[in-house]
Amino acid sequence: MREVAIIGVGMNEWGELWEKPLREIFVEAALLAIDDAGVKRIDSMYVGSMSSGLFVGQEHIASLLADYLGMTPIPSARVESACASGGLALRQGFIDVASGMSEIVLVGGVEKMTDVGGGEATFALGTAADQEYECYHGVTFPGLYALIAKAHMHQYGTTREQMAMVAVKNHRNGSKNPAAQYPFEITVDDVLKSTLVADPLRLLDCSPITDGAAAAVLCPVELAKKLKKDPIVKIIGSGHATDFTALHSKEDITWPAATAKAAERAYKMSEKKPGDIDFVEVHDCFTIAEICVTEALGLFEKGQGGKAVEKGLTSLEGKIPVNTSGGLKSKGHPVGATGIAQVIEVVKQFREEAGERQVKDAKIGMTQNMGGTGGSCLVHIFEKE
């Protein structure tokens, strides 16, 4: 297996992009990534998109996006793993380069979510859960994560305030990220007084609906060195795992087992352990998700994720900064693009282009991108050389 490097990243404005169609949103990000990489050709591409069909009525975006990027006839594939589609695109690109099948691969993610109303968006997102056994009974994603939050509070004494602190921290980081959809700070009180969505989760516990795309260019480390890239951003671990789709099938709903398994695989491949990681981007689709995930990644003991946030261990200055980009909460969550945007934050940190949110001496970074209530998960570990 060849070593793989990330040589270019691109991300344009995120938010409510009323004036732009899906193809334009993607092509803008992809061209930025290609320009950043300084390459003249792409051998293949992988695009993560959770539900372009339900959001904009467009399937077959693999060819559509290659077409509008001016890249036909290259092989192009759309990959889907709900909110982990972007992370999956990265892994497919990684495998493609590592195997020797392709030299230069574009990986990206895109979602255009605001062309539909709130009800339709809730339905589209709900398809990441088990339609027949969960959704038909009326549950929505905030409802499922509310159950997880209640269980975590009950089992480990996690408090309402600790969950709020996740949002406060991520917004503080996001306020330092010009690319964030909501780049402003909030307080614990703001979270606790925001509109109740699904008890105990309130509006400011939930990541937003976002239009956006992100893209990155991968190639063998050898080639990256020839191109004189500095620093070399290496993908040293890739872990992918699945778990029960339906929440009720899980043995412990507070334990994202696919995340734990994917992390185990990524740690093994990279020969790293939790203590080696300098910073991590995780899938905080809801505040409680970040708490559960940091435990499953082995960064904190089981049940201690809430307390870790309260102690400031996950803040920018803490022991292990989590979501320096602002996370899904502040940066935005165009579901298919999220997994790639996480990687972009890693590259920015390694290049020391993160401005006020720069993590000092960041050498090893990790991303965790999760689908649904944890039915699928991608964990990647990166090293700066």
Binding site: E16, W18, T114, G117, G118, S194, T195
Partner: protein
């Protein structure tokens, strides 16, 4: 100079509180009250509709104008809740106020800006000399689907204006219109309740068009925000007009006199026109007023008025708008409201 010679308002006496609606739907009343600055809204009685509200407001306008109704050469009613799909509201209003039969009559519809649209056309034809006086009304008994965010604001009310060249107390200094094809809110034929594009109704619809019309009229007249004593914007909730006012450089004080939505809700075609009646109730001679409506679909009409001495002679001749808002009123529960609005029908 052409302008307003008579104005009148009408607001039904029934009200429902935000808490009462929120209670039924398990919604967060404090969030609606704080976020949208809505407290309560007017509810039409079962025997009231756009036509009866228009007649009431028109009668008040006629009392102030003190003219022979037979001199009214046009009756224009703007609404998105005309009781008939085919058959005008305006003919009934014209007959009721005695303006018929030598009269041009038309109904207007352009979501919430149908009222100012009627005013715009009426003013233009009076200015052109087509008829001596013209009556323009904005009225609605607006619809909000049960449980929809609109249900907290969709209310009822009417404002009527008589335009002429004699006895003018609010001269029209300028007009401006701004529109685009923007599907932010609509109701198709045979549908009872409108649909809307959620957050798309904000920046891309309300703000874009109000800013377009307001900036257009300000530029056209070389005016500055401080040149206006009062400004009125369409009021779908309390937050939007204050926000758009701030974006244009107006102070809260300039907006407050005409801001009625927290107490009566969004009267749709009556919304900014009713705000204008409340401002005329207190305006002083020489003051300048800017009004900018908004209608989904979408567009905005803007007018600049200059108030004359004559305002002091007419304003007390009919009930004032704030008196109707703060005067005798009856609160209804959701069940009564649902019956009044035809949301439930007797089996």
């Amino acid at each position: 100079m052409t302008g307003i010679v008579g104005y009148g308002a009408y607001i039904p006496r029934y009200r429902i509180k935000v808490e009462e609606i929120a209670k039924v739907w398990g919604a967060d009343a404090p969030a609606y009250k704080k976020g949208l600055m809505l407290e309560e809204k007017s509810v039409p009685f079962p025997d009231q509709d756009t036509i009866t509200l228009s007649v009431e407001a028109s009668k008040n306008a006629l009392q102030r104008a003190d003219i022979d109704p037979r001199e009214i050469g046009a009756v224009y009613v703007g609404s998105e809740s005309h009781p008939y799909a085919v058959k005008p509201s305006g003919t009934i209003v014209a007959e009721a106020v005695g303006a018929n039969p030598d009269c041009h009559c038309a109904d207007f519809e352009f979501a919430c800006k149908a009222g100012t649209e009627a005013m715009y056309v009426c003013y233009g034809l009076v200015k052109a000399g087509e008829f001596k006086y013209g009556l323009a009304v904005g009225a609605d008994t607006s619809q909000g689907a049960p449980g929809d965010a609109l249900e907290y604001s969709a209310s009822a009310g009417a404002a009527a204006f008589i335009f002429g060249k004699e006895k003018v107390f609010a001269e029209v200094e300028a007009t401006y219109s701004y529109m685009s094809d923007t599907p932010d809110f609509w109701r198709r034929e045979y549908q009872y309740y409108p649909q809307h594009g959620g957050r798309f109704t904000g920046e891309q619809a309300y703000f874009k068009h109000i800013l377009g019309a307001a900036r257009g009229i300000i530029e056209k007249t070389n005016a500055q925000p401080e040149d206006f004593n009062h400004v009125i914007f369409h009021q779908p909730n309390g937050k939007f007009p204050l926000k758009v006012g701030k974006m244009l450089g107006f102070s809260r004080e300039q907006i407050e006199a005409g801001l009625l939505v927290p107490k009566i809700g969004n009267t749709y075609s009556g919304s900014s026109p009713l705000g204008l009646t409340a401002v005329l109730d207190i305006a002083k001679s020489g003051e300048r007023i800017l009004i900018v409506s908004f209608g989904s679909g979408a567009g905005s009409d803007a007018f600049i008025f200059r108030v004359t001495e004559r305002i002091n002679e007419v304003r007390d001749k009919a009930p004032k708008t704030r008196e109707m808002i703060d005067g005798k009123k009856f609160y209804v529960d959701y069940g009564t409201y649902a019956k009044f609005r035809g949301k439930i029908l007797k089996g």
